[in-house]
Symmetry: C2
């Protein structure tokens, strides 16, 4: 017994400093350590040897590595030495299941594309299974490209929500309201009932924000638009809608209502601080003021707008008017054809410069803002995501700088906007959970998803009488 | 001895069919086997299970796998099952050492960029060592992105030629003529003497085409332009020149000469079937006819033209007029900022569509042509490269289709133009030599090149009094 007593004394003696240190150092679940952190906080702080402490799904602290090391000890650590750490990208507008129609008849007019190809293809192919596999494929692609949050409008949105959650992605997902029968709902009453069930089911979910998605003013009557908005507001759900994407939409609105699409949507009470308006191409100065006053979030989709020759959104002017403008890929069929948000950053800057014939029109920092914090503002989620700050969700990307296109680096924003690529994203963390590590997807059976996508390619081709 | 005799008989019996087969099957050095081959031949043939037989630096045969297997046996084989095989991409206009200035002050006017940043940066930093490391970095980046031939205009072009050949890349490399002292030549006489030595040294080289590169009509006098052209023609060397890139160039030309830049260059005898004209933005219908008649190759640089807000080249009109139009990245500083030619394909199509407000303006197949066979035509090398056909150089890329952004595939040209990325290139062969295999560079010490590029980043920053 005496010997045992001595051992106990020894143990206490040895462990005392350690337990003292433990008392000072707080446990966290994960530390992403020693990278160059582009915080996108209000001061646009960039830390050169920074670490991030994460507990549960949230960020506890962001600071110099030495400071984080002295205050926290992580159950796990990801070494980001020599790499960039940025807020996960926000894809503000897409239709994820359309990945399975990727590249199905490009280079045609929007009218031909819709009526000759996409509507028949959707009618013949879109069901819940299609939507699940398309969402899985899009999840794999978005995670690879560092997208951690996306906003989606499609059909069978319940399945999209489930697959999004299973992949560990954050999604604002809205079932489409449209004035013709969809693959899953016959009429407005069905759409309302579906969406109400859908919203109630996902209330309080940490990853899924169920939304209401009236397609547009040219496919929805005033009644549909107002009913959808009323349902959303009953549950404080966001409203996703296409706004002023086409010249015809502007012309028809002027003719039918004597006002612009934005003014019309405002006049019927649809616009508000819960609306996410995709495109916003045909907006004038008065419209910009309305969008700012009503705190509508706008999402710019440069690839889609160029591909379909829709027009160019006045992004610099909207930003100057105080509108939150994010970035989106749009659906990856006929209008992009991928989900690479880093490409949209590059394009947004270059498109604004050439359109305004001014190389200062929209700079690198602005488009990085649009892909992160302004994207979060456009989705009305800026308290939750969009920057790397204590209290926010731990949604972040670790980007390799060990690539020929990454060196040398004179300006981190220029590098992100113009030189780094989606494929340079190495590791992705969403809500504290690592969903890709060193380019390996951890939440998705990628080979199986690719195999199924190829099978769908064959069956879609066959359904349209195409050779493949 | 009787037993030995029996054994001999047995051997002869067993080996007879094999030696017979060997007599029918020809030896080649390499077979790239069983991929989907986008040949870009005159019929734009696409083979679904195709193989390519390569002997020395050239293609011996392209055909269905079974046919190639029966006719040839390769010392080496690369299995391309489930992958794309495309002609190596042609980057028709760049300044490779400027990789070391990547992202040095973007988002400024061209004038500020040149006079405040680039000219001082070049004066303080550009020497032969800088050019060598910049060329190595650019070679790594271009090979990674599937570029197998590039056209370059810079200084110390002798060093660029040596490093290009060492990396196994094909290059059309031209020493710059300009009416002020450059880092390596003081005046026109020096430039002429340098270029003559340079051209003579590289005559007959299988990879390096020494060129003459009078910078532009706004930086070179008529005397310089004509002297440079005469030297080139003495040796049948190509002439690389910036043409009609800026509105000011057009205005000044009209004022000084009463004609457009293209008409002026034609009037002084510079234009001909050996000229590669970069940009060609400010060209009218009459200019298009001149370019076609004189068989000038043009190189469109959409990233650069957008980034610097230079203007938009009338690519569809030039193509319709019969001009060979290739694609270029331009220099990777201030005007891009990378050497990813696949991005230029995507941009070229989207820029034409949005500029002409017509989604049919320039389609996927057209931009794949511009990156391959038309790029070769623009460099006047269409007999040597640009398509996968017997007799041409074995310059090709194997591209992975085992990525989320690659599936499903309805149209191979749409996939190449809009969905696949530079990083999807897996294996690159130039002149029969494998320079990248499964994303590993075989001719470049990549870690050392990246390290040196970072060092140059620091010294360039210090030379300009910038923090880094």
């Amino acid at each position: 017994m005496r010997n045992l007593g001595n051992i106990c004394v020894l143990f206490i003696f040895i462990w005392a400093p350690a337990s003292l240190a433990a008392a000072q150092s707080q446990p966290v679940d994960l530390i992403v350590s020693d990278g160059m952190i582009v915080t996108m906080d209000a001061n646009r702080t960039v830390l050169h040897d920074g670490s991030i402490a994460i507990r549960g799904d949230s960020i506890v602290a962001v600071g110099p590595r030495s400071e984080i090391d002295s205050k926290y000890h992580g159950a796990h650590t990801i070494d980001a030495h020599g790499k960039l750490i940025v807020p996960g990208f926000v894809n503000g507008h897409t239709h994820v299941p359309m990945t399975l129609f990727r590249g199905l008849h490009d280079d045609v007019t929007l009218n031909d594309w819709l009526y000759k190809y996409i509507f028949p293809a959707e009618k013949k192919n879109v069901n819940e299974d299609f939507v699940r596999w398309g969402t899985r494929l899009a999840a794999a692609e978005q995670i690879r490209y560092g997208v951690t949050t996306f906003a989606d409008m499609y059909y069978f949105e319940e399945a999209i929500a489930e697959e999004t959650k299973a992949a560990g992605l954050r999604g604002v997902v809205g079932e489409t309201f449209i004035d013709f029968p969809t693959p899953d709902n016959k009429n407005l009453d069905d759409m309302l009932a579906y969406s109400e069930r859908f919203i109630r089911k996902w209330q309080g979910d940490p990853l899924i924000h169920a939304a209401v998605a009236p397609h547009s003013m040219y496919t929805c009557s005033q009644k549909t638009l107002q009913a959808a908005a009323a349902l959303a507001r009953k549950y404080h759900a966001p409203i996703l809608i296409h706004v002023a994407e086409m010249k015809k939409e502007w012309d028809d609105s002027e003719k039918a209502h004597g006002m612009s699409p934005v003014a019309y949507l405002n006049s019927i009470g649809v616009l508000g601080p819960d609306v996410v308006a995709a495109h916003c191409i045909y907006v004038d100065t008065a419209d910009e003021k309305i969008l700012a006053q009503k705190q509508v979030g706008c999402v710019h989709n440069p690839s889609s707008n160029m591909m379909l020759a829709s027009g160019v959104s006045p992004v610099p002017q909207m930003r100057a008017a105080g509108v939150a403008v994010g970035l989106g890929t749009d659906g990856p069929a006929g209008s992009n054809n991928d989900l690479d948000l880093m490409e949209e950053m590059d394009l947004a800057a270059k498109l604004a410069k050439i359109t305004q014939m001014n190389p200062l029109a929209l700079n690198a920092k602005a488009v990085v803002e649009m892909a992160t914090i302004d994207g979060a503002r456009a989705l009305h989620m800026e308290k939750e995501i969009g920057s790397l700050e204590p209290g926010k969700k731990a949604d972040l990307d670790v980007i390799s700088l060990d690539e020929p296109n990454a060196v040398p680096m004179y300006d981190v924003y220029a590098q992100l906007a113009y030189a780094l690529k989606g494929d340079d994203v190495e590791t992705v963390i969403i809500g504290g959970k690592t969903v890709m590590r060193d380019r390996k997807l951890l939440t998705i059976d990628e080979p199986r998803v690719l195999e199924k996508a190829r099978e769908y390619g064959k069956s879609v081709s066959a359904s349209l009488g195409m050779e493949q």
